[in-house]
Symmetry: C2
Subunit: 672 residues, 2 copies
């Protein structure tokens, strides 16, 4: 590249973009780790976007109607941090830039949501940002249709690299966005032809513009270092009714000795080369120094949004008090006050009627009373709507022609769905839930982990949660998935035993602020075990005594979900033989773990033998089988010891020995 020509063609622009490049070089050099090349390659695009198009106010990072800027290529975090520092985000003073990648800094190796106000999402695992962005854009579309353009009218801008586009989840996102005609979504592809292993063509020859066009996108290809071309392309993208992809031909590590090489992707720390690059830029400044004029111009850019922000507030204040309160409520992520009473009423009705239904149906029954009172819910399924029971009456389908619809047909795209749900939650004003078969948690893991890491309260409706799925066989039968999900920090895994527990689990999920929820639900019908109505949300304690022993307490049965009714049957068998048996329902281990030790010991006292019953593997159960302290209890496990099989569900439970009879026999053998 002819750096000199770039400098002279657009000197003001160049100076501003240079500030990003030199801050990046300095921060990576100081940390002696990180990724210099991407911010240096995309600095021009970012500068034009922030200067001329992005609607934002650094003084109000949570302004609901701001444009969202998503750095899908999260390894280029210094691009984001530089922009935040230069435009004046309070959480991003120069000290943070200097502390890049150090303990306690807000400037983590990859952008972490929650570390600094203004970081819209956690990126780094490639493809997640572009897939999040579909959720951001869907939330915006729904809210624009609902609240009107005066209140909601913003765009989602994404920077994605070759790695993002190689990840399969990007295809799920691209196809969904194209079908949904998300016109407020604009993706910049950092087309630098470099990945870690070498030039892109050692692994990919995909014509990316053609690929996006195949899914209905508006596509432009430009020189990513030409500010006029960038500006024109963004303007054109904003005016097109389709989602837009702008292929930006860039040079990774522009102006550095490592330009256009794999080495340029990583940490450029050589002092001489750094100095030479700064000289080439015409910015031979010291470490972390930025030209005063550049600082001034960047500060002006940062100040630009205050007016639009104020005007928005004026429009917002013109809304009725009720509307304002409702808008604030959904953006605060608060459930409506009547949620609690609504759930209680449902529980009472169920306890009295004691229906025998699958918990996936219980979930639908709960959603039927929730969705009408929570306009912020956005539901969907990865092509299993009728099986996941996720669609309720009057939600409406989200579609290019029906933008107020709150139900999304995600297609067979579990990963894209989960990532989009994260985007909706991060956008604000939306509470997302989505369904698939629990076994296909496997496909969605990448995004589900990020729900937990970011602390966004999405809800995963995972039906067909065991061998109870039956004939579809072991590929569709989760056995290790409860353990996998329970192992994940900051994730509430609910396995409710009946409709009452399902309603209680939903109430917790819908009031959660910082923790995603997984609802593991059955395909098969289950009896109501909570036949005595209680106002209290028993699931909130994680585990509780469902039925106590009659006579001397000799055994405790611990069970979750579909196996709770098996435990109750086993209790009947044992009590008939005079063996006092307590049944503990454990719908949520994480919440039980959070209880006081005294409560846990009351529920699981020492002494009696313990048998856990769960149609999954034992992994993790030892925590509960061995007691809190003191003497170890005699214990056993009734569950799976490997993968499942294809046969009718009842046959499978019998063949795998997960029955009341097997449980009673296990207890008796332990009592011998």
């Amino acid at each position: 590249m002819d750096i000199a020509a770039l400098r002279t063609a657009h000197p003001d622009h160049w100076m501003k973009a240079t500030a990003i490049r030199t801050l990046t070089l300095d921060a990576v050099a100081a940390a002696n780790s990180g990724h210099s090349g991407m911010p240096m390659g995309m600095a021009d695009v970012a500068t034009v976007l922030f200067e001329k198009h992005l609607k934002f106010d650094p003084k109000a990072p949570e302004w609901p109607d701001r444009d969202r800027f998503i750095l899908s290529a999260g390894h280029g975090s210094m691009l984001l941090y530089s922009l935040m520092y230069l435009t004046g985000y309070e959480d991003m003073p120069l000290e943070q830039i200097k502390d890049f990648r150090q303990w306690g800094a807000r400037t983590a190796g990859h952008p972490e949501f929650g570390h600094a106000r203004g970081i819209e999402t956690t990126t780094g695992p490639l493809g997640q940002g572009i897939a999040n962005s579909v959720g951001f854009a869907i939330a915006e579309e729904i809210q624009r249709a609902t609240w009107g353009k005066k209140i909601v009218d913003h765009r989602t801008y994404v920077m994605a690299g070759d790695g993002c586009l190689m990840e399969g989840v990007s295809q799920e996102a691209i196809a969904l966005a194209g079908m949904q005609k998300l016109s407020h979504l604009i993706v910049f592809w950092d087309n630098n032809n470099i990945t870690i292993d070498g030039t892109v063509d050692i692994a990919d020859i995909t014509n990316q513009p053609m690929r996006f066009e195949a899914s209905g996108w508006h596509v432009q290809s430009i020189d990513g270092h030409d500010p006029e071309a960038i500006d024109a392309a963004i303007t054109a993208a904003k005016n097109d009714p389709r989602p837009s992809m702008i292929a930006c031909k860039t040079h990774i590590a522009l102006g550095h000795a490592a330009q256009d090489t794999s080495k340029g992707h990583g940490a450029l720390t050589n002092a001489d080369q750094l100095k030479a690059a700064k000289e080439a830029y015409g910015a031979p400044m010291g470490d972390f120094e930025v030209a005063a004029d550049a600082l001034k111009q960047w500060a002006e850019i940062g100040a630009r949004g205050a007016k639009a922000h104020k005007e928005w507030h004026d429009r917002f204040n013109a809304l009725s008090a009720n509307k304002q309160a409702e808008f604030k409520r959904i953006y605060a992520g608060e459930a409506p006050k009547r949620l609690s009473a609504t759930i209680r009423a449902l529980k009472k009705q169920i306890s009295e009627g004691a229906p025998s239904v699958a918990t996936r149906k219980s979930s639908e029954m709960t959603l039927e009373v929730i969705n009408p009172i929570m306009q912020e819910t956005i539901g969907g399924s990865a092509d299993l709507t009728g099986s996941n029971n996720t669609l309720t009456k009057d939600m409406g389908t989200f579609h290019p022609d029906t933008r107020k619809g709150r139900y999304i047909y995600y297609g067979v795209r579990e990963h894209g769905m989960a990532a989009a749900m994260n985007g909706m939650a991060l956008h604000g004003g939306a509470r997302a839930y989505g369904g698939t078969f629990m076994c296909f948690t496997d496909y969605a893991r990448g995004a589900m982990r990020l729900s937990a890491l970011m602390g966004v309260p999405t809800t995963y409706v995972m039906t067909h949660d065991s061998i109870g799925l039956g004939e579809d066989g072991p590929t569709h039968q989760p056995v290790e998935h409860l353990a996998m999900l329970r192992a994940t920090p900051n994730m509430n895994v609910f396995r409710p035993a009946d409709t009452v527990e399902t309603a209680e689990a939903w109430e917790i999920a819908l009031t959660s602020q910082k923790t995603p929820s997984v609802l593991a639900l059955t395909r098969q019908n289950l009896p109501t075990v909570r036949t005595e109505h209680k106002n209290k949300n028993m699931v909130a304690q994680g585990a509780y005594v469902l039925a106590d022993a009659e006579g001397k307490r000799q055994a405790i049965l611990l069970a979750t979900g579909s196996e709770v009714s098996i435990a109750m049957e086993a209790r009947d068998l044992l009590q008939a033989e005079g063996i006092g048996t307590r049944v503990v329902s454990m719908p949520c281990w994480e919440l039980f773990e959070e209880q006081e030790e005294s409560y846990r010991k009351r529920v699981l006292p020492g002494g009696p033998v313990r048998v856990a019953i769960e149609a999954g593997i034992r992994f993790g159960w030892d925590r509960w089988l061995f007691g809190e302290r003191g003497k170890r209890e005699k214990s056993g496990f009734v569950g799976m010891h490997g993968f499942g099989a294809s046969a009718p569900a009842e046959r499978l439970f019998k063949e795998f020995g997960i029955t009341a009879e097997d449980t009673a026999a296990k207890v008796k053998s332990l009592l011998k």
Copy 2:
């Protein structure tokens, strides 16, 4: 559709295709579950493929040079079972068809590898088959280049549905196959415009031919019910130097009342409608009956391959005895005899030199001695070659111009890589390993689970296995992943402590026949802890005493991987205070679990306090902290309690309290 016209245009073809359709209808009706529509829609394509193109011999389902037929749309399993029955596979008599989806039957809901000889791979989780097929085709290309066309020259045919193409993993597979110009790969897209939730356009408007073309595929679009068009398209596909996609416009559930509807996708069980469909087909037979003429023609198709098979055997027998033996060895999945001595020599050298290296480097050192003696290894990385240390000298890169190369640049495609590795293993004659950061296990889970379920001995090289990754931060730091992987049935999870254990783990992985392996390896350097050479493979026992207590045994430290050396340091601290401390290295829980209880009790005797040290979460460790039987031991855990952070690794270990000092303090507090 005008069924009558189809019948009369190609009566012989129609009769044969009808057999597939009626068997499908009968089997699904008898099971009262399953998927009728796909086999009914694709019966014409399958019939032409099997009659005119597929090279196969039902009497020899493992003939190495057979064409592979991959039913990616695995829910259409009755298509495969019908074909196997009709062409005469021994494992697929009519009784199996009648027993569809029942306990113990080979005819599971979805095709399960290993249930019947002739099922090439397990499918059902969508997208897996098409992604497997890339591995099948790569293995074939490498072997064709290595052994010559006389011995290896076959094709991989795939049937994929809309669901397969919506899954992101399909994009990874398509892009990789296109770049690699896998000319022997031919994919039929069952373009029926129906998914479970409705017509495809409610979730997708992607122009699939354009999408494939964008990645360098040869694409044709045909009427999937016209046998002449099908035949011509396959011929053209075989003659093109690119991978081929044939878009087959089909009618799901052809000829049934549910044709072209979502209902047609599922189980069609209505007796009257079934009868009407059979009448429309001109095949008003009883349950499971097939016209004698059709049976005869299908039998002839099944017999057709015997000649090619015999000719192949003649050519194979003309090879030298050594070559024949080598070919048989790699197809038997047997390691060469000298592997054991090679590993021993490396171990001896390492024990003596006691280098301080990262175990990812240890893995490379091991591969450097293995790859030259095992021509069947096929390595690769998902764009982290230099970080995963997966490429060794003289492997060569697999590329359209260098077909003997055994190293694959997979691109940033963890899921596609894992699925391709499964395909290579299933193809035979190949032992696949592939690397990524351990955290991105999340992306590959869908295919990794299938490695375990199918029992194929692939090896996952998962580096950067803890907070030891350092500055990249929590998105890149696994904490729950060891638990997740250990929870998966039939998966050996190795976390070696040094180079010697790494070499031992590799030896087990390379001699495994039925179990995939995960190697969890460090980014950071570790001292050699196995400084005393032993011929015996100690890792094979899963856990063993690395250093015993001096004096009275008061504590046992259990550790894996990078924390073993921390345990050794803690032992020094404790012994210095007179506290007799044993260190147990536990590189593979699964193998330890398989040992006799007496061995486990010798390694972990009751009495001493126990402290486990692992830079991951505690989930699962209770199994080992609480002892085998009898009294519960006092115990503690030194490890992670949530997600990691971005900072230099040493700082992280200190901040999270995973040090020798923390460990010694924990032991002392337990001894009080």
